[in-house]
């Protein structure tokens, strides 16, 4: 479900993750709401998956709506690397 190089955004509430999904779908950005991978702790158990090619647009839309994720990870091989930096 999560391919190598995909991003997985973890939110801190079900309401925020649902709002993020509505927002990104309205903007026709390719994303998928997925069960948060077991390796990544998430209170609400859901995450938003998107790929590199839409990353900029997805994160800009989330930032504009005040819906940036709590944590962002990138799948590298079999592991998830936390993306540090100014996405939040």
């Amino acid at each position: 479900m999560v391919k190598d190089g995909d991003y997985v955004a973890i939110f801190n509430s079900i309401h925020r993750v649902m709002e993020a999904e509505r927002l990104l779908k309205a903007k026709h950005l390719k994303m998928l709401l997925i069960p948060a991978p077991r390796a990544l702790a998430a209170d609400c158990g859901l995450a938003v998956r998107y790929s590199e090619d839409v990353r900029g647009e997805v994160e800009a839309a989330l930032a504009q709506a005040g819906l940036l994720p709590r944590d962002l990870y990138r799948k590298t091989g079999d592991t998830y690397q936390k993306v540090e930096g100014n996405h939040i």
Binding site: M1, I14, M18, L32, L33, I34, P35, R38, G45, L46
Partner: protein
């Protein structure tokens, strides 16, 4: 030796046919199949269930000889008979529609991560919206199909929602099969 030819069959047809044949096969099963996805999926499915697979390249195809016995997962897990999942809605649980739809998608996506799967998933009523084009779980249902889960949608229901031509995962079934599956199942999980 029982033999089976699944060449030219679209996924998940080869896995489903092999699964059925293995249920009644005594000793060895010989399968003729196409290279690519059918070859990989059938091999993964059979080995995942504890069988040994011997491959033999043929002209434009492959022949598998599947031997051994299915790993006794049923005895370990206490499972007896087929597990049939009846999905009667595109929502999981009562409550707000949006939450219900989200929970159902999340459930199906979680299922594919588990080692033990149902033998058959029957989609009825608005459940068929999950197997038709536009559903977000098509990819996951295909993955379940490739792991040997029979994904079947009620034909009447597809017709009612005008989704007959838009079925995107699994096959179409009728009420005879649905009723028989439920009555013959070792256990039924109703969602």
């Amino acid at each position: 030796m029982k033999s089976l030819d699944v060449r030219g069959m679209a996924c998940p047809g080869p896995v489903v046919s092999v699964k059925r044949a293995l249920e009644t096969a005594v000793g060895e099963l010989r399968v003729l199949l196409d290279d690519g996805a059918p070859r990989e999926n059938v091999k993964r499915f059979a080995e995942g269930r504890g069988y040994q697979v011997q491959e033999e390249p043929l002209e434009g195809a492959f022949a598998f000889t599947i031997t051994g016995a299915q790993r006794q997962t049923a005895a370990i897990s206490g499972r007896a008979g087929a597990v049939v999942m009846l999905i009667g809605s595109d929502r999981l649980g009562d409550g707000p529609e949006e939450l219900g739809r989200l929970l159902m998608r999340n459930f199906i996506m979680t299922l594919v991560e588990l080692p033990e799967l149902p033998d058959r998933m029957l989609f009825i009523n608005t459940g068929v919206l999950l197997t038709a084009r536009g559903s977000e779980v098509i990819e996951v249902l295909e993955a379940l199909g490739n792991r040997g889960v029979e994904v079947l949608s009620c034909g009447i229901c597809l017709d009612f929602f005008q989704k007959k031509e838009l079925l995107a995962a699994g096959g179409v079934t009728n009420m005879f099969t649905i009723a028989e599956s439920l009555l013959q199942a070792g256990s039924v999980v109703r969602l």
